[in-house]
Amino acid sequence: MDESILTQLSTTSPLATRPILETRGMSLQFGRQVVLKDISVSLNRGETVAIIGESGCGKTMFLKALVGLLSPTSGSVIFDGQDIQKLNDQDMTNLRKRFGFVFQNAALFDSMTISQNIAFPLRQHGVPKGKQAQNLITERLAEVGLPSNVLQKRPSQLSGGMRKRVGLARALILEPDLLLYDEPTTGLDPIMSDIINELMMRTRKRYSVTSIIVTHDMHSARKVADRIIMLYPYSRLEVGEPQILFDGPPSQLERSRDRRVKQFVNGEAGERLMEMLASRGKGHPDTLNLVDLNSHHGTGEK
């Protein structure tokens, strides 16, 4: 039933263009813990999709499953007509040239210089070499607004925002078809967040790349994305409810009738506060009280 709704949603594009990425009934489970259940999404070429949802709803896992960093427990991920789980190592390696992944904390290799970090995908796939590669690295670095004197520095010598931009340059070096951003603005100051948003939009314009952005920064999602998908933690769903609470353009977000979508968009804890107070009333020794919670605020997530 979900699939039919989603197919309807994705028929905005002409029939001739097949989706670049599709998940069919994808589920992900660790031991007994269900993270994702029966997720079917279809992404068109050139789209920028923001996946929103509270921490722990499985949005990063979803992103990782899309590029084969995690294997779905059931269901499939189809990239450009190929089921990525059925590919052999060599084909998967070749396919990975077409993905660019920007990790939450950039995930730069600390043992390498910035230059070596950006060049890593080039070396791995053997194209291009020498002077040409060097020019490409400097060019990408300039695109993300970093001076070329950082090239010989180590990741530890750069600030968080700079590291993220290097991460973006590294993801862009092979001009991928699909860019995946894992919480690109988390942990950055508002100015740097806006720079990253701007970079994401410029990248899209320049490379006409399909982008998926996992975020809980609503400002960023609204600004950058042309489609928003909201995931909800599986454990909090009613039996039989779909895990995707919202799928549509940002302008439709306000019109969503779902209380949980509204709460997330407006940043209201709603019944969670009541739940917390109720569990406090039960007198569990490990229950936080409100004062604790306030003092932890802002340090909870990296």
Binding site: F103, F109, D110, P121, Q124
Partner: protein, 289 residues
């Protein structure tokens, strides 16, 4: 915590059943976890062997690891080797002197060094110096998503990170063992001959007569297995590191402790095997080389 399946706490029987249930379930968990980990490590090692023969690691990554494992471990292995040789001399001198056999110290010290202490000491130092560092580095890479980044850019993390470390450990631990043996022999000689004043010629003759090529081979042969074990356990621990600073710390500790236990366990097995080989080739126990 598991909820009590027999909630009637009043009767002795139900309390007995409850505690039995808890004990069984706790042991069951331990056994299942143990078997799962063993299976995981075996698969990890299997994948590593496949990658080792499938594609040669890049020269620069190999050299980096060779330097860290071989060159940087050399001083500490040499130093501990010297000390252990001297300690052996101190410990055995009086007992042998009472029997008037102090010149036999050469045989005792050198035999124990070459067959047992040299390889085990080199392996222990390697597990402590290199193994826990490997687990910490790979663990940090796991926690900061650098291993995922490698995969996402088309590099196989086992090929890129584990194979060079494994090769460095396996290929260089024999050299470190020989170094520990040599320095132990020097240390033992120094203490016995120079400090305790045992006759130089007799000490050397005894050493030469009793310690043969097979003894040296035994030690070096065993060390290769120790090296392989250290690399596999440490890399596995790093790859399966839990998040956070505590996770990395635990991975590093587990890498050393488990490597050390496995070194000693392997030592027993390999000694039994090598003894069997020795007595098959030389049934009378005579030394041919």
């Amino acid at each position: 915590m598991a909820s009590d399946p027999y909630p009637n706490n009043d009767s002795i029987l139900s309390r007995l059943l409850n505690s039995l249930h808890r004990i069984t379930s706790a042991w069951g968990t331990v056994v299942v976890q143990g078997i799962t980990t063993l299976g995981d490590i075996s698969l990890f090692a299997f994948q590593m062997f496949i990658w080792m023969f499938r594609a040669r690691p890049k020269r620069e990554t190999l050299m980096q690891n060779f330097y860290a494992v071989g060159v940087l471990s050399l001083p500490v292995v040499a130093l501990t080797g010297t000390f252990i040789g001297m300690v052996l001399a101190i410990q055995s001198y009086h007992q042998f002197k009472n029997l008037g056999l102090e010149t036999r110290l050469g045989a005792v010290i050198n035999m124990s060094l070459v067959r047992e202490l040299g390889p085990v000491l080199a392996a222990t130092m390697l597990a402590g110096r290199v193994g826990s560092a490997m687990a910490a580095v790979l663990g940090t890479m796991r926690v900061t998503e650098q291993i995922d980044a490698l995969t996402s850019m088309g590099a196989n993390p086992i090929h890129y990170l584990v194979v060079p470390r494994f090769m460095a450990c396996v290929l260089l631990i024999p050299a470190l063992t020989v170094m520990a043996d040599f320095m132990g022999i020097v240390g033992g000689y120094f203490y016995s001959v120079i400090i305790l004043g045992i006759d130089h010629a007799q000490y050397l003759r005894n050493s030469r007569d009793f310690v043969g090529g097979f003894d040296l081979f035994t030690g070096v042969f065993k060390s290769v297995f120790f090296g392989a074990m250290i690399a596999i356990i440490s890399c596995y621990r790093g790859f399966h590191c839990q998040p956070g600073a505590e996770g990395v710390g635990r991975a590093a500790t587990a890498a050393f402790v488990q490597s050390f236990v496995m070194i000693l366990a392997l030592d027993i097995v390999l000694n039994i095997f090598l003894d069997a080989v020795y007595f098959t080739i030389w049934p009378t126990g005579a030394k041919l080389f």
